[in-house]
């Protein structure tokens, strides 16, 4: 068993951003490059070429070898199906990891990744930026401090356009599925952070929206219903139902209903509008996520959203996929 490398508290953290396949790579690279406490390299083995103004290397090997002792941590922004190899390699090298969501395309892969990082003593966190949105923080607070009384139900919507510019997002092999894989996990993570894992999952999907552009077999619409042992029920609309010509990519809303009243949050509501205008001014949650990760690397201990919650949200998706196959609700403990 290897142990995580010691972090020199006086030196910049050596971070390798692995792959530019995910559209978030550009944003993470910009935020990391701007920090004085980070020394960044970016691996772009697929040659996307749109992460600029930073030290871009043509292969993963070059990124692993960018420093004599290797990186302190990596940020994994590859296609979903490639997360596992990068994370297992990081664990082997004793390198900390922030991995894009969904953590993996199969429950087995996600489990192996969490186990390897745990055994290696490295930090593994899952990139759920919306975890840090002040609206989500307000929701967690209102539920935990009893403002909403006894919560009986929630409805979440994480709708967006079909991801553009990166075809792998709708390639079932590389992404693990379509909208249900892409968009269920954000709200599943928020619910997990308040209520823990659900007991059962039921899901229905279709591919009517963006049918010509989505990869073969990728669902573009979906409704995922969760039940909890407490009796609580929740449904997530994970559809890519934002029209292509809408002024913004989509959004994330959650509504909680309790004996003490209702709360609805919209994590992307903050914007200046106008005809066909959408100027977001809300909190940069990517920056908060990176802050939390870098602090966790220095402390040697993961904080939420951890790899474990990433694994539990992959379990929700796996149960949802099984439910689509069988047409019946599926117990999460049995996937």
């Amino acid at each position: 068993m290897l142990t995580a490398r010691q972090i020199d508290p006086t030196a910049p953290l050596k971070i390798a951003l692995m792959s530019c396949a995910h559209t978030h790579a550009v944003g993470y690279a910009g935020l990391l490059e701007a920090r004085a406490d980070v020394d960044l390299v970016v691996a772009d083995p697929d040659g996307y070429g749109d992460v600029r103004g930073v030290r871009v290397l043509p292969s993963y090997d070059a990124a692993w070898d960018a420093w004599p002792e290797g990186p302190d941590a990596i940020v994994v922004t590859s296609a979903n199906a490639h997360h596992k190899d990068l994370v297992l390699e990081a664990a082997r090298r004793g390198v900390h990891v922030l991995c894009e969501k969904p953590l993996a395309t199969t429950l087995a892969d996600a489990g192996a990744m969490v186990e390897a990082c745990r055994d290696a003593g490295v930090v593994l966190m899952t990139a759920f930026p919306v975890h840090f949105a002040p609206e989500v923080t307000a929701l967690r607070a209102a539920i935990s401090d009893g403002s909403l009384g006894e919560v009986v139900g929630l409805t979440g919507t994480n709708n967006g356009k079909l991801p553009a510019g990166r075809d792998w997002f709708t390639d079932v092999e590389l992404a693990g599925g379509g909208a249900m894989v892409d968009h269920t996990v954000h709200i599943a993570e928020i619910l997990d952070s308040v209520f823990g894992p659900p007991a059962t999952v039921h899901a229905v999907t279709n591919r009517i929206l963006y049918a010509e552009r989505a990869g073969e077999g990728a669902e573009t619409g979906g409704l995922v219903t969760l039940t909890y042992d407490s009796g609580l029920i929740a449904t997530i609309d994970c559809s890519w139902s934002q029209p292509a010509d809408a002024p913004t990519w989509g959004g994330l809303r959650l509504q909680a209903l309790g004996t003490g009243g209702q709360l609805q949050i919209d994590a992307f509501a903050q914007h200046v509008g106008g005809h066909d205008q959408w100027l977001p001014y809300g909190t940069n949650t990517d920056a908060l996520l990176l802050d939390a990760f870098l602090d966790a690397v220095r402390a040697g201990e993961a904080v939420d959203p951890t790899g474990e919650v990433g694994l539990r949200t992959v379990a929700v998706v796996a149960a949802a996929q099984e439910s689509v196959r069988t047409g019946q609700p599926v117990a999460v403990a049995e996937v």
Partner: protein
């Protein structure tokens, strides 16, 4: 069906005598039906096991002491009783040769609802289930847009309905009202059927607060034969909950959204609102709309004289009950139910 089906003032003047309507059951919803009958200049008759005297005093309706007496005196019957009484009153009215408007749900079981529709067919009378939401202009506008292809092929539909548990005790008894699914959500189940067509499977979950049985929510997921999927979310909230209804219809050619909590055109600030009363949370505030309850009564009455189809008919009422029953079956078994 279309605005021309609504009779104009001239047509009313040509009528030999006013339409005589017998309102059976004089609780909350009968008051919502009144403006429509008033607009038609109908002569009101009423019979109810309780509250009929007050209703007659309020409205000038002719009070009848038995259902038989009422049936003998009217042209059309408007059934506003608690749901369990619907089938008996509807059958009696049909057997007396009357056309019938019946509040939703038509009956508590699909079999009984279907039997009522067949009964009407057999005796050659019309049976109109009062699915009033089809007459709310927001839903009617969405339906027209969907039918003309404005959003392409429908894919994912979401409906929300929020209110508080009606304050009459029979609503709280699931045996009598069918609970939140059969009483409140049936409106949105009907909308889903109207907009996206027949359903092949139903999955439902419900949660009743353990600390306050008046607070409950239900989620129903419908898979339509077209491939579209619908989510209906009902909520009976704590006391003071404002009535609210929303929908979002996503198709491959666009998106339609409505939220009754959005700007209705008249907005009092908090200071002004505090000086005014608010609604009871049981029925929506329709004061800024063409009254949908009146619109449905007027359309039904017009259809009786013209024989024209109405935008909701007995078969629709049966389908709404059948799908709602499938949802209750799903609640009971925890399974998805094939339809």
């Amino acid at each position: 069906m279309n605005p021309s089906a609504i009779p104009d003032a001239d047509a009313q003047q040509e009528a030999p005598r006013p339409l005589r309507v017998g309102i059976v059951g004089t609780g909350g919803i009968s008051r919502a039906h009144l403006p429509g009958w008033t607009e038609l200049g109908a002569q009101l008759h009423c019979f109810s096991l309780s509250g009929a005297e007050e209703f007659a005093a309020e409205t000038g309706a002719v009070l009848h002491s038995t259902l038989e007496e009422l049936l003998a005196a009217v042209d059309v019957v408007d059934v506003c009783t608690p749901t369990p009484e619907h089938p008996g009153v509807v059958r009696a009215a049909l057997d007396a040769g009357k056309d019938v408007i019946c509040e939703k749900p038509l009956a508590l079981t699909g079999e009984e609802a279907r039997e009522l529709a067949e009964h009407a067919e057999r005796v050659g009378r019309r049976l109109f289930p009062a699915h009033v939401v089809r007459y709310f202009p927001q839903y009617a506008a969405a339906k027209r847009a969907v039918d003309t292809g404005a959003v392409g092929e429908l894919a994912v539909l979401r409906f929300e309905r929020t209110g508080s548990l009606p304050d009459r005790s029979w609503y709280a008894d699931e045996e009598l009202s069918g609970g939140i699914v059969m009483d409140q959500m049936i409106h949105d189940i009907d909308q889903a059927l109207w907009l996206a067509g027949p359903v092949s499977s139903v999955y439902a979950q419900q949660s009743v607060a353990s600390s306050d049985a008046a607070v409950s929510t239900a989620h129903v997921v419908l898979t339509h034969r077209s491939g579209a999927i619908s989510h209906c979310r009902g909520f009976w909230g704590p006391q003071g909950t404002r009535f609210r209804y929303t929908f979002e219809l996503a198709g491959d050619g666009g998106l339609l959204q409505y939220d009754s909590a959005g700007d209705p055109g008249i907005v009092f600030d908090e200071v002004a609102s505090a000086r005014r009363g608010s609604g009871d949370g049981f029925l929506p505030d329709v004061s800024t709309l063409r009254d949908p309850y009146a619109a449905e009564i007027v359309e039904f009455a017009a259809a009786l004289s013209t024989g024209a189809p109405t935008r909701v008919d007995a078969a629709d009422g049966v389908a709404a009950v059948e799908i709602s029953r499938a949802a209750l079956e799903s609640l009971r078994t925890g399974r998805s139910i094939a339809c």
